[in-house]
């Protein structure tokens, strides 16, 4: 049962990105998830986003908890360091990793059980701290890996495969993320790659805590009638507020959009988010309004997707802590150790 590395056939005709990497260079081992699992589509979207952004694969660190979703980092970015940690605790591990080397790009992948049930505390606190990361929850409303129990994002009244209803109030991860100060918040659907890929790209470019709730149906345990996380249900209730395009710094923006329908947001690092508005008057930079919009639509049974909130000038944890630019893991002994003389002085002050 050793994972099979994906056969790396020489495809001389494969397109290369700005860094000279092909799509293959962003792939991982062959997935061992169920055929049709939403999570595999998200892996594909991550691969595409990283490829299109021309990120050097080895400069991305991918971290996860435990669950089918948390297994996926094995299936993309095979040259990146990965860390499949313990259940629900990816956020703290990612935070620590981020502190050790601020130069890498941190991608956290988790499940709804992993992040909303056991990991709700860590999810929440990592968001509050503004850890610079892209945090993707692959949200299927159930625990896939342990065979289909409800997770904390299952809607009240949703039915499991045996017809039993969930009675607990659902946690809306997007609502919580906005409340707790995430500075880039989106929701998407694993079945809509066109929406998802740019959202991931925007998140990867964001400086601060970027969160993407991705509804990702579990074909094995939560794709039936009565589920509110099935492909059919999500397609029916999906209401996108905007459609986004990510324009990297190099490209020029030619503003030829009709005013009022398109919004351009320039993020801290220079990346541009080009937003085609689908819902009128939705202002992605207005936190309070976004929350109210989401709650109102949720009450109507709509699943609002798209880029929901962004603070383009966000600060991140390193900014708050005022840490030096040089990665901690590269500091020399001289930079770390105050030395014998300092100690002698200190001794003197302790007498």
């Amino acid at each position: 049962m050793t994972y099979l590395p994906k056969p790396k056939l020489a495809h001389p005709e494969l397109q290369k990105n700005d860094l000279g990497y092909t799509r293959r260079d962003y792939e991982g081992s062959i997935s061992t998830l169920c055929a049709g699992c939403g999570h595999d589509s998200i892996s594909a979207a991550i691969i595409r986003a990283c490829y299109e952004l021309s990120l050097p694969p080895h400069r991305i660190a991918k971290l996860s908890g435990i669950g089918c979703s948390s297994k996926t980092p094995t299936y993309f970015l095979g040259n990146s360091h990965g860390f499949n940690s313990v259940h629900g605790r990816m956020p703290s591990v990612l935070t620590g990793a981020n502190l050790a080397n601020r130069e890498l790009i941190y991608l956290g992948v988790s499940g709804d059980g992993d992040s909303a049930s056991i990991g709700f505390g860590q999810f929440s606190h990592s968001i509050r701290r503004g850890v610079n990361m892209t945090y993707i929850v692959e949200n299927n409303g159930v625990y896939g890996l342990t065979k289909g129990q409800f997770s904390a994002t299952a809607d009240r009244g949703a039915k499991n495969k045996r017809g039993v209803e969930n009675m607990d109030e659902a946690i809306d991860m997007v609502g919580i993320a906005i409340q707790l100060g995430a500075t880039y918040v989106a929701r998407s659907f694993s079945g809509d790659k066109n929406q998802l890929v740019p959202l991931i790209k925007g998140a990867l470019q964001h400086n601060g805590a970027a969160f993407i709730d991705t509804i990702s149906p579990c074909v094995m345990f939560n794709n039936h009638e009565g589920s509110t996380k099935s492909y059919d249900y999500v397609r029916e209730h999906n209401e996108a507020v905007n459609f986004m395009d990510v324009v990297t710094g190099r490209e020029e923006i030619t503003v030829d959009y009709e005013p009022g329908t398109t919004e351009i947001v320039r993020q801290h690092n220079g990346g541009l988010l080009k937003l085609r508005k689908l819902a009128n008057d939705y202002d992605v930079t207005d936190r309070v309004a976004a929350m109210n919009f989401l709650e109102t639509r949720k009450a109507r049974g709509e699943i609002v997707t798209g880029l929901l909130y962004v603070d383009p000038d966000a600060e991140d944890l390193h900014g708050y802590l005022e840490t030096a630019e040089k990665p901690f893991n590269a500091l020399t002994d001289e930079e770390l150790v105050p030395g014998a003389a300092a100690l002698a002085k200190l001794n003197a002050s302790l007498r």
Partner: protein
């Protein structure tokens, strides 16, 4: 005000008053939050400045204001630093604990108290010398502002006591001047209060008492620092850059000291930016998670906690063991189980630190005996964690961690290099060196690792808490799993060669009796052995453990003796259990001497326990 105003006159003792120079115990009974702590500390420091070794202990409640607190000072020219039973001079400032405080005085001892309000004779003892001073009325007469009354009352009693037991007032003046450097008015006011108290005592109280201080030279170049601060400095010198912690008594001051020292020593001189990150996590699961994340990514990282925190960290500690990720945990032990007695000391996390987590796991422990070793082991722990790629515990306790101690000056060898363990570099990868994350290439069972982001195409690997093969590929194959578990056992053997050796001290004459101890029990041992020799004529060889797993010297010691007393501050003889488990020695020869009521162990207790066994007269059993 004259002594006649005092509600209770001075009372002589029915037994001869204790006469002692530079060898007695003074204890202050206060209410916490009343500002007494700094006055008491001043008192201790003054004695130290006179060259007399003093060992103070803070005994405080698990609350913030209004409950009893004590400050006990062992003064010993001989250098005995362990706690001692009984009090020679009780400074009883807390009516709540009056009865027990008076009871704790040795026959012939002294009681100093505030006699502003009269107390019935039944509240005293005939066999002690009672010295009353109308502290409250005296202070209130001198100061009008309530805040000043509270503050200066403490200095006034320090002044009075300085006269009673002969502390050089100049020394106290200097200390006050240092403390309030630049605030001359405050210095003057404090000096005034000091002399008010002193003058009162000289005029009205029986100065000097039988307990006397005389300038000495026994302090030497030792410094005065608490174990937590020293450990934090050790972590700093060991190159720690990430500290993630969650407040818990008695460990908080370690993280707080690290914060202070980093501010001072670790900022980029030019930019003022920090070469460290300290995160107060939301709980212990997060703090250890952050430490592991940072360790995985090549930074040296640690957390400080106490028992409940270790329990919560158990799952992550298992991950660190199995996935082989460096981490350092400072466990400042308190009395368990559960919340237990959060402000009392104990050595009862030995078992959980050694074996934390489900499945087959074992973890190295460092066991400092004093602040100096806290510093050494604090620094060493960072090297060991990187070298062994696992969680290394530095196991302190409240007694060492939160009390200032006289200790050898901290030293650093500037030629020392931080040992970052086996890290494969980009160049080595580029040169084609084989990289298997869990491959034992050197025969010491320690594999190489790479830092994330090292090389574009080589050296990337996936870390997981599940089974995998030598190349970090997921597998559920039983033989690959077992090979890995066996390698971890072999790595444990490597660890034995890297841990600090136990320190053996042999008696003058050959003996088949031995004593094993560790950590904060250390200062009580020499004194206990003196007592045993006096009481039974027996002498014992000593072995002070400094680490787990044990080196061959521990096995040799056990083999070489017929009866070995294992002295510990817990109920279940936890270290003895490790000795038996690891050395496979016969339990019968390891005799338990256990102290676990939350107070620090005393030489008398140890001596009683051991003497009763050597010479089984009907003395109380050690474990009682």
């Amino acid at each position: 005000m004259s002594p006649q105003d005092a509600a209770q006159p001075l009372m002589g003792s029915t037994v001869p008053p204790i006469q002692a120079v530079n060898d007695f115990v003074v204890k202050f009974a206060n209410v916490n939050g009343s500002g007494s702590a700094s006055a008491n500390q001043l008192f201790a420091k003054a004695i130290l400045r006179m060259g007399i070794p003093v060992t103070p202990r803070n005994i405080f409640p698990s609350n913030i204001q209004g409950l009893p607190t004590w400050y006990e000072m062992r003064i010993s020219d001989k250098g005995h630093m362990g706690a001692r039973e009984g009090v020679d001079l009780m400074v009883a400032m807390n009516p709540q604990t009056w009865d027990e405080d008076v009871k704790s005085i040795r026959p012939g001892g002294y009681l100093f108290y505030d006699n502003t309000k009269p107390l019935p004779a039944s509240k005293f003892r005939a066999d002690i010398t009672v010295v009353g001073m109308p502290l409250t009325s005296f202070t209130n007469a001198a100061y009008a502002v309530p805040r000043e009354r509270q503050l200066f009352k403490n200095i006034i009693y320090v002044g009075a006591l300085s006269a009673l037991i002969n502390i050089d007032p100049k020394v106290i003046e200097d200390l006050l001047a240092e403390q309030f450097r630049g605030r001359d008015k405050l210095i003057a006011a404090n000096h005034k209060a000091l002399h008010m108290g002193r003058d009162y005592a000289l005029a009205h109280l029986p100065c000097p008492l039988g307990l006397q201080l005389a300038a000495s030279d026994k302090v030497g170049d030792r410094i005065f620092i608490d174990g937590n601060a020293a450990a934090a400095l050790g972590a700093l010198y060991g190159g720690a850059t990430v500290c993630a912690w969650y407040p818990i008594t008695p460990s908080s001051s370690l993280a707080e000291a690290f914060t202070r020292y980093c501010e001072r020593y670790r900022k980029d001189k030019e930019t003022g930016k920090k070469r460290y990150a300290i995160v107060q996590a939301e709980d212990e699961l997060a703090s250890i998670g952050m430490v592991i994340g940072a360790g995985w990514n090549g930074a040296r990282a640690f957390t400080a906690t106490s028992g409940p925190g270790i329990s919560l960290m158990s799952e992550f500690i298992g991950l660190s063991y199995f996935a082989e990720i460096p981490a350092v945990i400072f466990d400042v032990q308190r009395s368990g189980p559960s919340t237990g007695m959060p402000t009392r000391t104990q050595q009862s996390d030995i078992k959980i630190c050694a074996y934390a987590s489900h499945g087959d796991t074992k973890h190295p422990l460092l066991l400092p005996e004093d602040p100096n070793e806290c510093f050494q082991f604090g620094a060493l722990s960072m090297d060991l964690a990187d070298r062994l790629q696992t969680t290394v515990f530095v196991v302190l306790d409240l007694e060492i961690g939160m009390n200032e101690r006289l200790t050898a000056p901290l030293q650093w060898d500037d030629s020392r290099k931080l040992d970052r363990g086996k890290v494969m570099t980009s160049d080595e990868l580029q040169a084609g060196k084989v990289f298997g994350r869990y491959l034992d290439v050197d025969g010491d069972a320690i594999p190489y690792r790479t830092y994330p982001g090292t090389h574009p195409t080589k050296g990337g690997y996936f870390t997981r808490g599940t089974s995998r093969d030598e190349f970090a590929r997921y597998t559920e194959a039983g033989d690959a799993y077992q090979r890995n578990m066996e390698r971890l056992l072999k790595k444990w053997d490597t660890a034995k060669t890297l841990m600090p050796k136990a320190v053996r001290t042999d008696a003058a004459a050959p003996t088949k009796l031995g004593v094993i101890y560790y950590g904060s029990t250390s200062p009580a041992i020499p004194e206990a052995l003196e007592l045993i020799a006096e009481q039974t004529g027996a002498s014992l060889n000593q072995l002070r453990l400094r680490a787990f797993p044990f080196g061959p010297e521990v096995e040799e010691f056990v083999d070489a003796h017929d009866t070995i007393f294992v002295v510990e501050q817990n109920r279940d003889a936890q270290m003895r259990m490790l000795l038996i488990n690891e050395l496979e020695c016969n339990p019968k020869k390891l005799v338990r001497v256990l102290h676990y009521n939350g107070a620090p162990i005393t030489a008398e207790f140890i001596a009683r326990g051991i003497a009763a066994h050597i010479n089984p007269t009907p003395v109380r059993e050690a474990a009682e």
